[in-house]
């Protein structure tokens, strides 16, 4: 413990020299930035992880052999005591555009500009064919349907709300006809011959649009290879669907790319007749829900081994399915930590510079203190205390400011937006209603300890110089 004069003088020296505030403010800014930015990143990461988890099946069997049958796979999978349920999925790719009746049927031609502005127009989508009943038991499908329009979201969402979650792809014929009328298309006399099957679009695609009518018909264009395919056997696929409503997983990458349709509708589109007893109940992947408490990694390995002889393919946990995305955000957070520590280094340099100046300016005082009986260690402690006090106060200020900013970040963001029209944190980017933050005690302690250790290190050099000053030279003259 340094002698009392070191504490006594350190405080008075600091109070008397305003320049020391620079180092303190430097540390405060660094600590503040490290706390706020990393808290927001952690909040983002937490929220994004939740969203990613909600958009993914706990386990997913993918890469199955062509023409794998769901029934056969299901039987093997559900035999495992840790599997709660499974749901078949079929994946295909298509281009989507609004259906325009041929001129002969009297539809008004949509201008190119209107087409380009239409969120349905010429959009590449991943079609995910699902069995709603099984999907609801296996993934968060029910939540996907409930999400649009929750909270403070646009009233527009209610237009696209799915009326019956048990039959999400059913769009009544009358509704489709009503949409045609609203779009200025002529409904054939006697009405449509049959209702088109429904398609669920993501709320991200629909929400800025007033050009897509619920029940509106859209066309899909895609292609598939015939069996024993050669290049010339590429077959064009066309299908007409009606917009059944909106879903939202809140995982942006999923929502931006996927449109959901009924499993049977997609099988039919791909040329498999569901009514044909010889036809396979084709799947390309199987979503799996584990029983609570099951270890997903172990289960994934076990299930992959179990289906090896049936369908082949790999089983991935929800983390593995999104490893690249989650890894990227985590990586960003890591990089941010490094970048912000550079601010800390600048603050440490400021402390070094001000302390160095102080030691030079206190040359005579050091001689006086030694004459009064101060030891070199005591003198060293005095200047180390100066450095530590500066950074300690900076830490305290930075911590308080950082905590306050993180807690009130949304208010600050709103105020800045209202006053200057600048969005500090683009919530839209991650589909978030509020800027999330997570104040992690462990990280805060790390930041504070790092700031104190760093300031101790940079204070050491000036302090050692002070301790080595020859006292006689200092006191010999005025």
């Amino acid at each position: 413990m340094p002698p009392v004069y070191a504490w006594f003088l350190a405080l008075r020296y600091l109070a008397a020299r305003r320049v020391n505030l620079v180092g303190m403010l430097g540390v405060a800014v660094a600590v503040w930035a490290l706390i706020v930015v990393i808290s927001v990143f952690s909040g983002f990461l937490g929220e994004i992880t939740d969203n990613v988890r909600a958009s993914s099946a706990e386990l997913l069997l993918t890469g199955v052999r062509e023409r794998s049958s769901y029934e056969a796979v299901r039987e093997v999978l559900e035999r495992d005591p840790d599997v709660a349920s499974t749901a078949p999925r079929l994946r295909h790719y298509a281009i989507l555009y609004p259906y325009q009746p041929p001129r002969a049927l009297g539809g008004p031609a949509m201008s190119t500009r209107a087409l380009e502005a239409n969120p349905l127009a010429f959009n590449f989508v991943e079609l995910l064919g699902i069995d709603p009943e099984r999907e609801a038991r296996t993934s968060a499908f029910a939540t996907w349907l409930a999400n649009p329009g929750t909270g403070a979201r646009s009233a527009l969402a209610s237009l696209y709300r799915v009326d019956d979650p048990a039959a999400p792809f059913a769009v009544p014929r009358e509704r489709q006809e009503e949409a045609m009328r609203l779009l200025g298309q002529r409904v054939p006399p006697g009405g449509l011959l049959e209702a088109s099957p429904g398609i669920l679009m993501s709320w991200r695609r629909l929400r800025f649009s007033e050009q897509v009518e619920p029940g509106q018909q859209v066309e899909l264009v895609s292609a598939r290879f015939a069996e024993q395919a050669r290049a010339e056997d590429l077959k064009k696929i066309r299908g007409r669907f009606a917009v059944a409503g909106a879903y939202e997983t809140r995982h942006r990458l999923f929502d931006d790319s996927h449109a959901l349709i009924g499993l049977e509708a997609l099988r039919t589109l791909l040329g498999h007749d569901a009514a044909d007893p010889e036809g396979t109940d084709l799947v390309s992947e199987v979503a799996i829900r584990a029983r609570p408490g099951a270890d997903l990694d172990t289960l994934a390995r076990r299930l992959a081994a179990a289906v090896a002889g049936v369908s082949g393919g790999t089983v991935q946990t929800w983390r593995q399915q999104n490893a690249v995305f989650l890894g990227a955000v985590e990586q960003e957070r890591g990089l941010m930590k490094i970048v912000l520590f550079a601010v800390m280094l600048v603050a440490a340099f400021l402390i070094y510079a001000t302390l160095h100046m102080m030691v030079t300016g206190k040359f005579r005082d050091i001689g006086i203190l030694m004459a009064l009986g101060a030891s070199p260690q005591g003198i060293q402690a005095l200047f180390l205390l100066c450095g530590l006090t500066v950074s300690g106060l900076g830490c305290l200020l930075g911590f308080l400011a950082g905590r306050w900013s993180a807690v009130h970040l949304n208010d600050v963001n709103d105020a800045v937006h209202a006053r200057f029209g600048i969005e500090l944190f683009p919530r839209e980017l991650y589909s978030l209603e509020r800027i999330p933050y997570r104040l992690e005690a462990e990280w805060i302690v790390q930041v504070l300890v790092a700031a104190l250790v760093l300031s101790l290190l940079v204070s050491y050099l000036p302090a050692r110089r002070a301790a080595r000053m020859p006292p006689v030279r200092a006191i010999a003259y005025e």
Binding site: A16, M370, A371, L372, P376
Partner: protein, 231 residues
């Protein structure tokens, strides 16, 4: 004669300047006894201040010995020399050397803080403060406790420095031209204080001075020339 409180034996001290060693003390023998007041007279450059610094353990001798109450102290570790300086030796300088950020009272208290840990200080603080106030009153600064050095006259500053030298109850006070920077009237006042303290407290004094009149009032005069004690 009693054993000297502080003595130097064959002390040699030189300073290196531009690669050349300049001898300042060339084998000095010197003693001061308990309660004795010794005047150290000599021209500038005779080595008086250097002898004072070596005696006060601020500067180690190149050769020779420094003895405190008969015990060699010059070769002790630096920490112990600092502790001895704090407990046994008081300094009064020509240029006062007060800490500008501190008040008169704080400057005096500083003289008691060198070895005390913060917790112990909490217990000792009251007594130390009372003694500091009493010392400042005894040098006539009872009404100037909260003034900073910049707000005090030269004579007042030197009186604060004297109080500071006394607060740790030293055995010897080494005063380096304590009135060298004061006008004659103020110098006379400061000297009266020093002689009074000497009378009342029985502390030994080594007074470096150019002033023959002042030297004549001391018990003994030691003259120095070219780094040697004469006669």
């Amino acid at each position: 004669m009693t054993q000297p409180v502080l003595s130097a034996e064959k002390v040699v001290k030189g300073y290196t300047l531009g690669g050349e060693t300049i001898p300042v003390l060339r084998g000095v023998d010197f003693q001061v006894h308990a309660g004795e007041m010794v005047a150290l007279l000599g021209a500038s450059g005779a080595g008086k201040s250097t002898l004072l610094h070596v005696l006060g353990l601020l500067d180690p001798p190149d050769s020779g010995r420094i003895l405190l109450a008969g015990q060699p102290v010059h070769d002790l570790p630096i920490r112990e020399r600092a502790a001895i300086r704090h407990r046994q030796i008081g300094f009064v300088f020509q240029f006062y050397h007060l800490i500008p950020e501190l008040t008169a009272l704080q400057n005096v208290l500083l003289g008691r803080m060198m070895l005390t840990r913060p917790l112990a200080w909490l217990r000792e603080r009251r007594a130390a403060r009372a003694r500091a106030v009493q010392l400042l009153e005894s040098v006539g600064l009872g009404k100037r406790l909260r003034h900073r050095p910049a707000q005090l006259s030269g004579g007042e500053r030197q009186r604060v420095a004297i109080a500071r030298a006394l607060i740790a109850r030293p055995r010897v006070i080494l005063a380096d031209e304590p009135t060298g920077n004061l006008d004659s009237h103020t110098a006379a006042e400061v000297l009266e204080i020093l002689f009074r303290i000497h009378r009342e407290e029985g502390i030994s004094f080594v007074l470096v001075t150019h002033n023959a009149e002042l030297a004549a009032r001391c018990h003994r005069i030691v003259r120095m020339k070219d780094g040697l004690v004469l006669g």
